[in-house]
Amino acid sequence: MTATEEPPGEIELLDVAPARNLPLERVETVKRHRSWTATRGSTGHRLITIGLPVLATLVVAGAVFGLPVIEGRLLTRIVALTVILWGLDVQLGLGGQLSLGHGAFAGAGAYTAAVTMGVHGWPFPLALVAAAVVGLAAGALVGLPSLRIQGQYLAMITLGTAVAFPYIIRRFAWFTGGPDGPRIDYQFVPPGWMNLTVSHYSRWTHLIVCVVALIAYFVVRWVVKGPLGRRIRAVADNPAAATAFGIRVGMVRVYTVSLSSSVAAVGGALLLFETPAVSADSFAVFFSLSLYAAAVFGGIGTLVGSFLGALLLIAAPWAVSKMGLKIEPELIGGVVLVVFTLVARDGVVGLLRPWFREWVDVVDTPPTEA
């Protein structure tokens, strides 16, 4: 509780002249390995934060050319689900609020894309913008009660949204095309130089989905690091203190759900890119709960964890059927949720982080040579 808690060595560490602010330094540390040290805000750190996602996207995008068509398409789904999980993570990780209804937001995005692109022939970037806007509005609507109520009641409202979603789709069938959606008349045709046969068109779709995901990643990151993200994190940390500093906690919570839902809707639209068909039931409550399980598995509050969670959602059923096992994929989700909640709160990423830190250590000031 006293100021002496800070280890004395750290103070010295902070007094280093900025001239030593080299991008990436190889320093001797007390650790077993020689680890790379990146100083927060330095060129090296920026290279990691920008370069790694780009590199990861290139790998995931390129991988489709080494996979059979079916597995390639599963990879596309993984990328789309990753974006949905990023949206969910804005609410869970950043906003610190439980949501059990993000499947409905993703569904809203998928239906928006189906109607705009599939029925009205909008170009896909416009359809994505439309999905984002619909997601924003849907999130605001669902989040509105958080102006008045607090705590986990919002989770109940999101759950209710997930339950209601298929009925809403049916109720407005004249617009949504009903439970099985409208007839979709849209195809991603690759440019000629790619030399893809019709059966391999899905590879082009995959590249588009990857690029959209990368853009979504940077937009989410940008918001998280920006003024709104700061306010969202401040409210998650200490709502009373945030209020005392002029932050309108209720409004910030509405923005959080809205932003979160918007990203999930874009992810939902990407799912439609992969399979040009929608069904209301695939976005029902079970999907929402699987998303939550996937987020817990990957690690809430980490954008990489979302990819691992998405991987689980697709790869587990795939592996089970590949190996001819008689296990319900639902069971895997349930077991994962229970096990990770009990023993690994921070998910797979939480388990891997210490190992990663052995190699790249992010510090906030340049270290001295030991």
Binding site: T2, A3, F245, G246, I247
Partner: protein, 239 residues
């Protein structure tokens, strides 16, 4: 009257009454200290002033206008800077972000970005220790560092009334001196109006112009610190 006036405020948590008609004046430009033993309702009083709690009766007014119906976030914008008890910094946010997030709310479009940078620099001059910790998550700061950040965070909003809840609690003596100097500087140099809650009597008496002692939800003694007898407090504050 300009400044803060608390008039016959009663506050309860559910059915548990905590403040039984507390009145307090913090005139413009003064430094008033509220003392009292643990659990007498000091924090409750400050939370009521900040708008985080609603009084059952009585009123709080600031610069002549009643704050009834004015939300906590609006009070902050009226110029109330609150340093809550304990480490009420935002732990996930870095030191810099802790300051940014409250400046963004206060400054909005009214002030140019360059001017706000100037505010930030002025405040950091008061807390040089923070300048080397700007990119560290506030959750990793030590107790003393977090306390300094909490005060700095209130100051960057450019408050007209600074409310501090036990700034010396759990802090080593050398940092207490720093905090004391800072508060004295703010009061003397720019005439900032300050309401201080403290248990450390000598500290409070050195700084404040006026004092009020709270006991079991009532003000039991008030006066000028220059006329106060420190030994008399021993009895009032004894547990």
């Amino acid at each position: 009257m300009s400044g803060l006036v608390v008039d016959d405020v009663r506050v309860a948590y559910g059915r548990t009454e905590v403040l039984f008609g507390v009145s307090l004046e913090v005139p413009d430009g003064s430094l008033v200290c509220v003392m009292g033993r643990n659990g007498v309702g000091k924090t409750t009083l400050l939370n009521t002033i900040a708008g985080l709690l609603k009084p059952q009766s009585g009123s709080v007014s600031f610069d002549g206008s009643s704050l009834a119906g004015v939300g906590a976030h609006q009070r902050a914008r009226l110029g109330l800077g609150y340093v809550p008890q304990g480490h009420a910094v935002f732990p996930q946010l870095t030191t810099r972000e802790n300051l940014q997030v409250v400046m963004e709310r206060q400054g909005r479009r009214a002030r140019a970005a360059s001017l706000r940078q100037q505010d930030l620099d002025e405040v950091l001059d008061l807390f040089p220790a923070l300048t080397t910790l700007m990119n560290r998550p506030a959750g990793l700061l030590s107790g003393g560092q977090a306390k300094q950040l909490a005060i700095a965070r209130a100051l960057v909003t450019g408050p007209r009334l600074l409310v501090l809840d036990e700034p010396t609690e759990g802090i080593q003596p050398s940092i207490i001196h720093e905090i004391e100097d800072t508060i004295a500087k703010l009061h003397a140099a720019i005439g900032m109006t300050i309401l201080l809650v403290e248990q450390y009597v000598e500290f409070a008496l050195r700084l404040a112009d006026r004092y009020a002692v709270l006991d079991a939800g009532r003000v039991v003694s008030t006066g000028l610190t220059s006329e106060a007898d420190p030994s008399a407090f021993a009895e009032l504050m004894a547990v």
